[in-house]
Amino acid sequence: MIAYIVRRLLILPLVLFGVTVFIFGIFSLLDPVMRASLYVRDVPKTADALQRIIHKYGLDDPIHIQYWRWLNQVIRGNFGWSKTAQRPVLQAIGYYLPASLELALWAMVPVILGGIVLGILSALHHNRPLDHTTRVFALIGWSFPSYVYGLLLLMVFYATLRWFPPGRISDWVSREVIVGTFRQYTGMYTLDAVLNLRLDVFADALRHLVMPVLTLSYIQWALLLRVTRSSMLETLRQEYVMTARAKGLKEWVVVYKHATRNALIPVVTMGGLLLVGLLNGVVITETVFNYPGLGQWAARAATTFDMLSVLGFSLFGSTLLVFGNLAVDVLYAVIDPRIRLE
């Protein structure tokens, strides 16, 4: 067990090193002139200004020297200046993270309810109407691009019914939360509103979250539903389940105490894919709903050639994913002793 975790931890720096090499490799596809232009705020007044910048920052040095210099800065937390956010990239990530985190955490509610619970029910009602209905919905959900889905939600619930607005909070709330009486503990408005005992702010923040949460979560739950369903079907066919039934145990004991626990083991491995889905999903979802989070910031940066922001977000996302996958692997080994022996 310990040996397994240590082995996984030893690979970690290697993978992270590889990730930084990749990011810098992508960056160095750009000519020195283009990279120099990222550091310039206004139009250079003299003809050789760009050349001087290139020379000053060593943008035409051999690539491994440049990489080393860049890595030193990155380790110190200096990712450069984000033009889109008008602040350093690391600060920008800190600034936009609470909004995206809030979105992702709320998205877990329908993912777990819709994915796991429906998956188990679907397996229990194998080949009956409930099973067919959920499968068809999962199949359509699987084929539904999230931007189309999000725009349809906007059409129905915003443009027509005016129930759920886009954005993150209403104007009057944004004035409220700046005032000193409202303390921002986490930057996640729903949580802060509860801590400040402000139900009106909570309701407003939640109203803005409904559509993005639905958009971000449905692909994930369609995925989880398929995995849970097939895993549960396979577990129910196992002999120990038959034994439990033969012993005369009540059906719900067999299902929930014996089958479900084992059936959910493969679902744990979906954690990594879930994280990928969330990271990809926030980019699209936040862009569709004009929700000011990490994804929208990165998408805006990508279309305006604010490369330092895009690379910062990419590095942030992949680092998060590397640690997320590690956590999933360790968790899997803890839950399922068979894995450790491999």
Binding site: P166, M270, V276, N280, M307
Partner: protein
Amino acid sequence: MRTIRQLLRNPLSLTGFVLLLFFVGVAVAAPRLAPPARAWEPYRIVQCGFSPTPAPPGDPNPFRAIWKVVTGQATLCQVHPFGTTGEGQYDIYYGVVWGTRTAFQVGLIITGACVLIGIVVGAIAAYFGRWVGEIVMRITDIFMAFPFLVAAMTIAAVLQPKIGRGLVTAMIALIVFGWMTYSRLIRGDILAVKERDYVQAARAAGAGHLRIILRHILPNAIFPTLVLASMDIGSYVISFAALSFLGLGAEIGYADWGQMLSFARNWIARLNEYWWIIFYPGMAILLFVLAWNLVGDALRDVLDPRLRGRITV
């Protein structure tokens, strides 16, 4: 023959095949269905006038409007069967029809390139000993450490100022981070086939590496990869359209469904009035992807039961 009958008996896979045939038909007949205004650049969507707001479909019955266009009784700009986009006044019907061709090109080229790279990398990793394999697979791991769409977005953003905004940029971005699942799958299958007696026999008979891989190993190991690829075409089309939607794929005015959907972002408060901007391109992409997913699922169930229930993203 039995396989085909089996495929057609299942209502879901039958739906998939019918939808796919429909899209093939639309793609082939595009010049008849939506005659280009400028024959030398058919993928530029026809523009009608200069109004700032989207124009509604010219006829409440879109089929009648399409019939008029096909038979030459009216031009696209007189009836625009699916309405226009607003800014730029791009004709949506034209874009949806020619966008079918774009979707086929994009889906097949990306999938084909990814499978090809996957096979080459997987074959190298599996065939040439432990150390080569180990190193190649660790490099693959690093590619997999990136969230797919975020990584593709990064590459597209870097390539845009270098080779311009367009199909090629976005396709390269998606291919660079799309091949890894195939290389892993084919590596496992080659490792399983490699030690079979007939491969040993071929080696003993003096066949070279390339000949053994191409003639003896690949034909027996490639099938699961191809099935998996057929299931992925739909999701590549979604990802490509997502890049276009974000403004990193096809250029503005190009016949591409994702690019057309991005026009809807200007009108989110009035989408109930201008429903056609999202309805037609949105349905086109949904049905196209659904068709590939249904066909892919059906192919997998019939050809390779081993992959049943396998989840891919």
